[in-house]
């Protein structure tokens, strides 16, 4: 497989008995994330058997079925709990959790902060499209203030979550934010996240034209990609921009990178001590 590149490489990792093209809408960024994830896993040289993709419910949940790894499609918001069990049971497995923004921060918010606090060695990809896509365009915890959705027809009144700050505060070992426009940066972030011990979070800004863009002034998916290109800036550059000019810009990059050992490493070390001392 060494000489295969680009799309051919991705085709190698897709499940041949699944129906393609995949279920995502035209212009959805989830497919790009899928490609990025496959390239990252290939780049790290991981065996297909050693990778377990755990996904929640929603558009992002459908992502798992398409790739030829060990895949688990779980209940809404609970992907991290299943991943915790798999990682504790098989510490050698690379467990990657794919969640949406509502999945991870609304119904699964408790599991997200506790997985970060517990520092379990899984990598969470949070596909943030600011909306509940599959459910039909209701507002999510990351829907920006003022946005028009099915459940906020007069505009969102609540504050939105900042996933990076939430996970940083909860104590995650690795926190990064990327976007589906800056794919190569995303590739390297996902690779870093998988390699880093302990709990890693990569928030991925991905556009949802069908449910979010159409209602909020975007004319095509391409326009949403232009917005990503303009608004997602490297965090070093973001810091230089005066606060008044930041507007809709969001910083991207790696925000936290610690090498605290994950819970499973600590547990098995303790277990070895217990068994040795008996």
């Amino acid at each position: 497989m060494a000489d295969i590149k680009g799309t051919q490489l991705i085709h190698e990792y897709l499940r041949h008995n699944k129906k393609f093209p995949h279920v995502f809408c035209s212009g959805c960024g989830h497919g790009i994330v899928l490609g990025s994830l496959i390239r990252s896993i290939h780049g790290l040289g991981l065996s297909k058997d050693d990778v377990c993709i755990v996904a929640g419910i929603g558009c992002s949940g459908r992502l798992a079925a398409y790739v030829d790894f060990n895949t688990v499609h779980t209940c809404h918001g609970r992907a991290l709990t299943f991943a915790t069990g798999i990682k504790m049971a098989k510490p050698g497995m690379h467990v990657i959790v794919v969640m949406g923004d509502g999945d991870s921060m609304a119904i699964g918010g408790n599991h997200l902060i506790h997985a970060a606090r517990r520092n379990i060695g899984v990598t969470a990809l949070i596909l943030n499209n600011n909306i509940y896509g599959m459910t039909g365009g209701q507002c999510s915890p990351t829907t920006p203030a003022g946005a028009n959705t099915q459940t906020t027809p007069m505009g969102q009144m609540e504050q939105s979550f900042d996933c990076v700050e939430l996970c940083t505060a909860a104590g995650a070992n690795f926190v990064a934010r990327g976007s589906v426009f800056h794919v190569k940066r995303l590739d390297s972030m996902i690779m870093e996240g998988i390699k880093n011990p302990g709990f890693g979070v990569v928030e991925i800004m991905t556009p949802c034209f069908t449910q979010y863009g159409r209602k909020n002034g975007f004319k095509s998916p391409v326009e949403m990609f232009h917005a990503l290109k303009k608004n997602v800036v490297k965090r070093e550059r973001f810091d230089e921009i005066p606060e008044a000019d930041r507007g809709e810009k969001v910083p991207s990059g790696i925000f936290v990178q610690k090498d605290t050992p994950g819970l499973e490493e600590k547990f098995y070390e303790m277990a070895a001590r217990c068994q040795g001392g008996k």
Binding site: G6, C28, H226, K234
Partner: protein
């Protein structure tokens, strides 16, 4: 190796891990690539056509992407990385393998995922 600022780490990662290092932006090789689009997989989002720096692709009247100026392709890899449907393939041109008349044939079938079948599609061309 991965300590230090984000920028340096980023750059290091490019050389080491990017699976297709010859397709980074700097490796410009105009006219040396074949761009294949699988129309069965293309959903016509238009990202490739909008962002291609040399406008190799266009959307046809069915809303699907088609290759119109393949000779202009600088092999930057943008379309391949950003196609959400894995419907674009950029390959280096190898004259002996690809008969001249087969270019149009690439457009006819969706991949079965395996390399063998893609080759056979070309050969049938």
């Amino acid at each position: 190796m991965f300590r230090g600022s984000f920028v340096s780490r980023d750059r290091e990662a490019y050389g080491k891990f990017t699976p297709n290092p010859d397709q980074v932006m700097s490796a410009k090789s105009k006219g040396k690539s074949i761009v294949t689009i699988f129309p069965d997989w293309c959903k016509g989002c238009g990202i490739c056509a909008a962002f291609c720096p040399v406008k190799v692709m266009e959307l046809n009247d069915q809303g699907k992407a088609v290759v119109v100026r393949e000779e202009e392709c600088i092999n930057c890899g943008f379309c391949e990385l950003h196609c959400p449907d894995f419907a674009i393939m950029v390959q280096p041109k190898v004259d002996s393998e690809i008969p001249a008349g087969s270019k149009s044939a690439h457009v006819n079938a969706a991949p079965n995922g395996s390399v063998e079948s893609e080759k056979s599609i070309k050969e049938k061309g």
